[in-house]
C-alpha cells in the first residue's frame, strides 16, 4: 500500500531528474527568466477555481486544497447545477480551505468564463477532454496557473491549440501540471531515472498496456426535453468528440510513460482495433473496445501498445521496457544485472502532482507540462487514427490532421450528430 505521508525529498529527486532529461533545456532556460505575470510570491494565498465539478474534478479539488498550506478553493464552474452542487457540498470537509459563495458558482457552457473572471490564481480543468482546447487557452490568456486533467484534446486541431497555449504559458511564466500523475509518482521517477542512467543499457523497445473492463455502462436513452449536448456530456465517454475513445482517454497514461522513457514521441503508428464486446449500437454508438498499435520511435525502436475494454478478462495496466542489458517495469523494477525494486515512500501521486504544482509556483520555477501532455495525447490520437483507418499514420500527418470533432455549439440546443463506428480500410484519414 502506498504510504500516506508526503516526502519532501521526492520533489528534489524530481528536479534532479529533470536536469538530466531532455526536458531540462526548457526548464532551466525558464528558471533563468525573471518572474512573469502569474506568480504568487512566497506563501501568499493561492485561490483556486474549478472548471468541471464531476467525480474527478471534485477529487482534484480536494487533492489541491490539501496539497499545501494557503490554498483556498474560491470558485466553481460546471455545465450542470447538480454536478456543481455535489462538489460544493463536499467542500464542507475542507473547512476554511474553501470559500465559495453563490456569487462564485457558475453553471452552463460558459461557466469557465465566470471562474476565470472571479479572481482566482489557479484553475483546475477537469471537464470531459473535448473541452480542454477551449478552456486551457482561455486560462492561459487570463494569466492563470493550471492543473489540467489528461487527455488534453480529442483531435489534432485541439492539440494545436494546446501547443500554442503551452508556449504562451511559458512566456507568461505560468505553471501547468497535467493529470498524468505517474510523472509525480516516486517509484516511476526513480525507475525511469535509473533507466536513463543506463541501468538496462540501450533501449531497444517496449510494451505498454491498459487492458481493463471499460468505463461506464453505456448511453441511456435521451430523457424528454434533454438537449443532445446535455445527453452527450452526461455519457461523455461514449462520444468521440468528448472522450477521444479509450486509447486516448485512458491509455494515454501508458503512452505518456513510453514517451517519458524514450525521451521522444513516436514517428509513426500502425495498428488494429474494433468492437467485439460493446456491439450494441444504442448503448455504445461509436467507440472501439480494443486497440493494438505498433508505434515506431526514432532509431527504429518499436513500442507495442495494447488497450481494451473487455469484461470478464484479465486486467493489465503496465509498461515494460526492453534494453540491451536488462528490462524494466517503470513502476519501479529493474531486471537484469542491475536488478532493483523500488522501496520506500511512494506518496499518493494524485496529491503529489498538486504539491509539486504549488511548490513550483511559490518557488518561482513554474513547471510546464503542457507540451509533454499534448504530445502524449497526440501519440494516442495518432494510434486511434491508425486503427480507425487501417493506414500507417506519421507524426506529422497526425499533428496536421484536419479532422475537427468539435461540433458547432453556437446554439447549444441544436442537434449534434452522433456518428458511427469507423471501419478500417473504408474510414478515411482526414
Amino acid at each position: 500500500m502506498a504510504d500516506e505521508q508526503n516526502q519532501p525529498g521526492v520533489q528534489v529527486t524530481r528536479r534532479q531528474f529533470l536536469k538530466t532529461s531532455a526536458a531540462s533545456a526548457a526548464v532551466s532556460l525558464f528558471a533563468a527568466m525573471p518572474p512573469g505575470l502569474g506568480y504568487v510570491q512566497g506563501s501568499d494565498r493561492i485561490k483556486v477555481g474549478v472548471i468541471g465539478c464531476g467525480g474527478r474534478g471534485t477529487g482534484a479539488t480536494h487533492d489541491c486544497a490539501n496539497s499545501a498550506p494557503g490554498v483556498v478553493i474560491w470558485a466553481l464552474g460546471d455545465m450542470f447545477r447538480d454536478r456543481l452542487d455535489g462538489c460544493r457540498n463536499s467542500l464542507a470537509q475542507l473547512g476554511n480551505k474553501a470559500d465559495v459563495p453563490d456569487s462564485r458558482c457558475f453553471v452552463g457552457l460558459d461557466a469557465y468564463k465566470g471562474v476565470l473572471g472571479s479572481g482566482v490564481d489557479l484553475v483546475i480543468l477537469a471537464t470531459p477532454p473535448g473541452f480542454r482546447p477551449i478552456h486551457f487557452p482561455a486560462a492561459v490568456e487570463a494569466g492563470k496557473h493550471v492543473f489540467m486533467e489528461k487527455p488534453v484534446a480529442t483531435d489534432a486541431p485541439g492539440i494545436r491549440k494546446i501547443l500554442a497555449a503551452a508556449d504562451t504559458a511559458q512566456q507568461k511564466g505560468l505553471a501547468v501540471v497535467a493529470g498524468t500523475q505517474r510523472r509525480h509518482q516516486a517509484s516511476y521517477i526513480e525507475a525511469i531515472k535509473r533507466i536513463h542512467d543506463g541501468a538496462i543499457g540501450d533501449l531497444v523497445g517496449g510494451q505498454v498496456y491498459w487492458n481493463g473492463g471499460g468505463v461506464g455502462n453505456g448511453v441511456p436513452p435521451k430523457a424528454p426535453g434533454q438537449t443532445d449536448l446535455e445527453w452527450m456530456i452526461r455519457s461523455w465517454y461514449q462520444f468521440l468528440w468528448l472522450c477521444g475513445d479509450h486509447i486516448v482517454e485512458q491509455h494515454v497514461h501508458n503512452l505518456d510513460v513510453a514517451n517519458w522513457v524514450f525521451n521522444a514521441h513516436p514517428v509513426s503508428a500502425m495498428g488494429v482495433g474494433g468492437r467485439t464486446q460493446r456491439t450494441d449500437p444504442v448503448r455504445f454508438p461509436m467507440i472501439f473496445d480494443h486497440f493494438a498499435i505498433d508505434y515506431e520511435y526514432p532509431n527504429g525502436v518499436h513500442v507495442m501498445s495494447m488497450c481494451r475494454h473487455w469484461d470478464d478478462c484479465p486486467g493489465n495496466v503496465s509498461e515494460h521496457i526492453v534494453g540491451t542489458k536488462g528490462t524494466a517495469n517503470p513502476w519501479g523494477q529493474i531486471f537484469g544485472p542491475n536488478a532493483w525494486r523500488f522501496s520506500g515512500n511512494n506518496p499518493n501521486p494524485y496529491s503529489q502532482e498538486h504539491t509539486d504544482l504549488i511548490a513550483s509556483i511559490r518557488a518561482g520555477k513554474p513547471l510546464n507540462e503542457a507540451r509533454q501532455v499534448a504530445e502524449s495525447t497526440l501519440t494516442a490520437i495518432m494510434g486511434r487514427m491508425a486503427a480507425y483507418t487501417g493506414q500507417v499514420i506519421t507524426w506529422d500527418q497526425a499533428l496536421n490532421s484536419q479532422e475537427n470533432l468539435y461540433p458547432d455549439l453556437t446554439d447549444p440546443r441544436a442537434p449534434i450528430p452522433v456518428g458511427k463506428p469507423p471501419v478500417p480500410g473504408k474510414t478515411r484519414f482526414v
Binding site: M1, A2, E4, G55, R56, T58, G59, A60, T61, H62, D63, C87, S90, Q181, N211, G212, G213, G214, V215, G216, N217, Q250, D311, D312, C313, P314, G315, N316, V317, S318, N348, P349, Y350
Partner: protein, 293 residues
Amino acid sequence: MKNVLTRFPRRSLVVLAPWLVMALLSAGAPGQVQKHPKAARPSPAASLAPYTETVRVTGDANKVRFDMVPVKGGRFAFTDPTSGKVREVIVKPFWIEKTEVTWDQFDQFLIVPEKAKPGTADAVARPSHPYMPPDRGFGHTGYPAISLTFYSAQQYCKWLSLKTGRKYRLPTEAEWEFACRAGGPPVQLDEKGLDAVAWYSENAGGTTHPVGKKQPNGLGLYDMLGNAGEWCVGVDGKPVLRGGSFMDPASKVSCKARARQTPAWNQTDPQIPKSKWWLSDGPFAGFRVVREP
C-alpha cells in the same frame, strides 16, 4: 504434510438441543423463502450435506458452479477482538464456500442485464465499472475476486440469494473463525506449516493465486489463511477483514488475523465521492459466502 490445523483433537462440539430446535424452526419459517421452491426444502441442521451451487445467468450460456461445505454448529472459546476477553460463543450450523469467491463467480454479478425486472436479482444494485481493472493484473479466471468493499461483497450475496433462492450472506467473524480453526484452537503456524496451506508475503510473489492450490484445512476449506483477506461481519456488526492476505507476513496470517478498513485502503481513488464498490488500494480484500440452513 498434513494440515497443521488438524493436528489438534477436535473438541467435542456440543450442540445445544434447544437451540437446534430453533434453528430448524427458522429454517422452515415462512417469508421470503416461499418465493423459491428450492429454498422451501427443509434442511435439517444435523444433516447438512455438501453441495454444488449452480448459477445460471440470464441470456448467457455460462453457468457458474461452486462448492459449499457444511459446518456443524458448536460452541468454542472465542477471543472477543474488541475486549480481548475469551468467551464461549455458540455457532449455529451453516454452509461455507469451499474457496474464496472467484472472478468467474463475481463477473456474473457485474453483468448488467439489458432489462432488469424489479424485485428480482436483476434489480440488485451492482458495481460500477472501475477505472482501473480490479484484478490488478494478478490473474482472472480461477483467482479470488479482490479490491472489493464490504458493501460490494454484501450486494453480491444479496444478488446470489435472489438468483438461487437460498440465503447466502457474509459470515460473522465468529462463524469464519470457527470454520478456519476447524475444531482446533487458534494457532500461529510456523512458516513451514503455513506454506502448506496459505499464500502470504514470503511465498506469494506479490500477487494472489488461483484458489484451491494449497492444502485445505480440516473441514476441506481452501485459502482460509492468506491469499485474499475475507470480509466478515464483526462482533460489533461492522465490517472486518479476516485471515490475512498475500500481502501480509507469515506472522500476521492466522485464524485470528483481522483488519479494519483504513483511509489507506482507497487512498488513491482519485474521485470524490470515492467508490463504494472498489478499493483502489485494497488488492488484499476478498470474501467467501456462507449459507444459512
